[in-house]
Amino acid sequence: MTVATPDRAVHNPFCTRHVRPGRIPALDGAGREIDLARVLARLAEIDGSVAIVGPHGSGKTTLLGHLADVLEAEGRCAARVRIGRIGDAVALLAALAQARRGGVICVDSWERLGPIWTHVIRWCAFVARTRLLVTAHGAGPLPTLWECRPTLSVLGAIVARLPCADTGMPPIGEAEVQRAFRDASGNIREALFLLYDAFEARARAVRDATA
């Protein structure tokens, strides 16, 4: 997509438009793009439901989204569900009822269902011969498909992919990226929000100086 804007608009490359899950590729701890084919091959090796684990803001939802895209293209992704409240368990049960045998249902924020519903849903998935691919913060009863590790390299790689050059503003330097990662205690999402604030403050200062 191309965007043409009037001069006074400042597009912050760290806005949610550019950093939301799905807009940036899934990266491993070294900041390289994850080989989705390799991950899916591992998925085929493991029986039953599996989990993508990692701390807050480590890229679990991003990886889940990309895997779901590939599974959808192959016709294997039965549904994607994001758990926001306990009522979503019913939607998940409905998805299981409608899913084909061998299909995969991608579930984000699995732990929000609580211990009772997670067991119920897992049992239903087993009966329906449908697999669950979920995101969770820690290793639980489900085998781990991938562990997301938030590192400075990941943050640097994400920043390198953002349209910073299109803004006409001085780029965000390595020192700022390091400071954001440190201040966010390794939470990539938080670090991106801190970089948003830093970029916004700088852009305003430049605009006010030139006005």
Partner: protein
């Protein structure tokens, strides 16, 4: 822009370009006034355009989830149009009274004309052309962060 070879040796189609000429040079429109924009599509030599959608909408940008509202929408379906036969188009829309374009700190409101091309191959291409509705000054900056 020229075509280039893809990884398997086949020619990949060139990226189309959509130029937009607004009737106001500064692209700043008063509320409830008419916007007239002329668009030109170039660089589509090897594909046929199946349909075209043109819309005028606002969206939010910033630290929140993106909200969007379409003010005007048109879809033009034609028989497959060959390269060189693509019409120049003009979009004429009466703009609403609000919301006005706004350069906030964590909330920004942008208005744009969006041209979406649909190709017979199944691809689509989107070109966005931002303009200002109203002339609101940017927010000064962060005075206090509450949360």
């Amino acid at each position: 822009m020229t075509a280039y070879e893809g990884a398997n040796g086949t020619a990949r189609p060139a990226m189309p370009r959509v130029g937009m000429q607004f009737d106001r040079a500064d692209r700043v429109y008063p509320p409830e006034h008419c916007l007239v924009g002329r668009y030109e599509v170039e660089g589509v030599q090897h594909e046929s355009v199946r349909a075209l959608e043109r819309s005028v909408l606002w969206y939010t940008e910033g630290k929140g989830e993106e909200d969007l509202s379409v003010h005007h929408f048109e879809r033009l379906d034609h028989e497959p149009l060959r390269a060189g036969d693509f019409p120049s188009g003009t979009i004429t829309v009466r703009l609403p009274a609000s919301p006005l374009s706004y350069e906030g700190v964590i909330v920004k409101i942008r208005w744009c004309v969006r041209i979406r091309l649909f190709f017979a191959s199944g691809r689509d291409f989107v070109s966005e052309h931002v303009f200002d509705l109203g002339d609101i000054a940017p927010a000064p900056g962060t005075v206090e962060r509450l949360t």
